[in-house]
């Protein structure tokens, strides 16, 4: 009986966990409930992914009102993939949060932290499963509002300012998305995404539809921190508590990119967006700019978490580059990078949090000789860095392989060269850490440090195992991504 209701339950369980945590007001209870909710999401997401693996769509009518009148939750290969990613990351981050939050958040606020974590997860899962365009906005705001609070939990006062800036830009982005959805609603008379896709053909070339596409593109790009709309991201990731940085870096922008995919491919249709309009060229140009400008900025950061944040912006460029090709290989590369980058950057932010716990700072100039004091942490960061560069045997390589394939398929040698060239910049910023941590004598401050506790290392290690495993045998991730690409390219029409 339960399995038929999984699409809605995985939103409801974390959504109910949050007020329960507030009612019970205990940090430990909060942790247990947050962990249980995350585990539930992970389990149901994997089971749903298995259900839609061979094609097919699961549709769930909320309140038994048949779509397109009621709100429909609709799961196909594309969002099942994102759901599985969300579930896995949520469990790992929840495991990491216990030790990390105890160190970074005052004890009397722990229950609020876990309540917000559950709300944020519920919002992200909601965005992913819903088949209703306005519902996307509602869940987007649930996850955004809770993530502003989560960022403001950071100890540094700059976290408050970062959270405020994210709130302003995030709200502008979300409002743009509502405007886009509103214009689509006016033109098609429906809010159900599948129904919208079926009706949009008749009004496709009308100006409100073009305006809707523009508003949606700008709004979603703001939420996804697509260059040049990324200004909120570095501060938000750098000053948030470590667990929050890891969680948001691995999930929030990815879910926004999924929304972009959904609107481009399912609602508007690939032929309209990429053939009739030059969106492919725009996306590719912005992606290339993101890869080079953001990665180059990362090289010059003094703060390691900021370095990782700027690197994230460059990596988002890989995903949008894949989307911009609008071919099967490109989409496979882009979608698989949602996962590859999430596990890589999640692990890196977790390890940065481990450094912050012991050293009290993540400034690179204070990490002299860190590898002697914290060998496991540093080895993990190097491994994650290799995946950012895209060394064969790591997950990052798989992405680049597909992106280069897609570029060659599109007949462009220049674009095939781009991911390779931007890897050189990744080498530069990863090398900055290696040089400081491995080739400098430990300072007196660093020499006193001991290795990070297993409560932080094990979750990060689990993600790194995934990085290596899916780098060597990518059949599972690439298989799922290829199915997601098929589902997106098939569209509704």
């Amino acid at each position: 009986m339960i399995s038929a209701h999984l699409p809605v339950l995985q939103v409801v369980v974390p959504l109910v966990a949050a007020p329960l945590i507030v009612l019970l007001r205990r940090g430990l209870v909060g942790y247990v409930l947050a962990m249980a909710a995350s585990a539930f999401v992970a389990g149901s997401a994997l089971s749903l992914l298995a259900d839609v693996w061979h094609g097919g769509v699961i549709s769930y009518a909320i309140g038994n009102w048949p779509p397109p009148w009621g709100i429909e939750y609709r799961i196909d290969a594309a969002n099942a993939f994102v759901l599985a990613l969300l579930g896995v990351i949520a469990v790992v981050v929840a495991a990491y949060a216990r030790r990390s939050v105890a160190a970074e958040v005052p004890a009397e606020q722990h229950y609020l932290f876990y309540a917000m974590y559950c709300l944020c997860l519920a919002g992200l899962v909601g965005i992913t499963v819903t088949g209703d365009a306005f519902n996307v906005f509602v869940f987007l705001e649930i996850s955004s509002l809770s993530s502003y609070v989560l960022i403001a939990f950071g100890r540094d006062r700059r976290a408050l300012l970062a959270s405020y800036q994210y709130l302003i830009l995030g709200t502008i982005g979300a409002t743009f998305i509502v405007i886009g959805v509103g214009l689509l609603y006016m033109m098609t008379g429906t809010l159900n995404i599948a129904d919208m896709a079926a009706r949009i053909g008749a009004v496709e070339a009308r100006r409100p539809v073009l305006a809707a596409l523009a508003f949606l593109t700008v709004g979603i790009s703001l939420k996804a921190a697509l260059f040049p709309l990324h200004l909120w991201l570095p501060g938000a990731y750098a000053f948030a508590p470590s667990a929050v940085s890891a969680f948001l870096a691995a999930t929030a922008t990815k879910v926004s990119l999924y929304v972009l995919l959904r609107f481009y491919f399912t609602v508007f249709g690939a032929t309209f967006v990429f053939d009739a309009l030059p969106m492919g060229g725009v996306l590719i140009a912005l992606s290339v700019a993101a890869m080079f400008v953001a990665s180059a900025t990362a090289v010059f950061q003094a703060d390691f978490k900021k370095l990782l944040a700027y690197s994230s912006l460059g990596q988002i460029g890989y995903i949008t580059l894949g989307i911009g090709f609008a071919s099967k290989a490109g989409l496979t590369g882009g979608v698989v990078h949602l996962f590859n980058h999430a596990v890589t950057k999640g692990a890196l932010f977790m390890l940065a949090g481990a450094v912050a716990l012991r050293l009290g700072s993540v400034r690179l100039d204070r990490m002299d000789g860190l590898a002697k004091a914290m060998p496991l942490t540093c080895a993990g960061i190097v491994l994650g860095g290799l995946s950012l560069i895209g060394v064969p045997g790591t997950a990052g390589f798989v992405t680049k392989w597909y992106l280069v394939l897609a570029a060659l398929e599109a007949g462009s040698w220049t674009l095939a060269f781009v991911p390779v060239a931007s890897s050189l910049l990744a080498v530069a910023y990863v090398w900055r850490f290696v040089e400081v941590a491995y080739f400098r004598p430990p300072s007196a401050e660093v020499a006193r440090l001991s290795e990070a506790p297993p409560g932080l290392l094990l979750p990060a290690g689990a993600l790194l195992v995934a990085v290596v495993y899916f780098g060597i045998d990518p059949s599972l991730t690439v298989g799922a991504a290829a199915r997601a690409a098929d589902a997106l390219l098939a569209g509704i029409r």
Partner: protein, 143 residues
């Protein structure tokens, strides 16, 4: 503002009617404009009015912080609980048709409890926001 006799008397007369009006808006929501959100705001407004006239400390004795936090969490649980009951009775989430043998009566029953949950949460949230902002200035004054 405790010293203004007129305000105190007017407040004492008006607040019961404000609360009553909130209940009217709540229950009339089935037949006309109204509903849980508006009712919750009116309840919160009545208590905020009380707090402005008689002072925050007095209001906190009448509606303590723990009650406010319980309200804002309990309302969401009532709402979600209605949804889950729908599943337990063999329907979908938030399925009101199965809440009664007569589907129309089921719709009635479902929306009644959902609106009750909304009212409790909204009143709780509005009061929580007010308490947080009003209480913070007080700490500043003490310091």
């Amino acid at each position: 503002m405790r010293n203004y006799l007129v305000l105190r008397v007017v407040a004492k007369i008006m607040i019961p009617f404000m609360l009553l009006y909130a209940l009217y808006v709540q229950f009339h929501g089935d037949y006309g404009p109204g509903g849980g959100f508006q009712a919750g705001v009116i309840i919160a407004a009545a208590i905020i009015f009380y707090a402005i006239v008689f002072g925050l400390a007095t209001a906190r004795r009448v509606v303590p912080d723990w009650l406010v936090e319980t309200c804002l969490a309990a309302g969401v649980l009532i709402y979600a609980g209605v949804g889950l009951v729908g599943i337990l009775l063999g329907g979908n989430f938030l399925d009101y048709f199965v809440l009664d043998r007569d589907p129309v009566a089921g719709q009635h029953r479902g929306i009644f409890w959902v609106e009750a949950g909304v009212c409790v949460t909204v009143a709780g949230v509005m009061l929580k926001i007010f308490y947080m902002f009003a209480g913070r200035r007080r700490e500043d004054d003490d310091a």
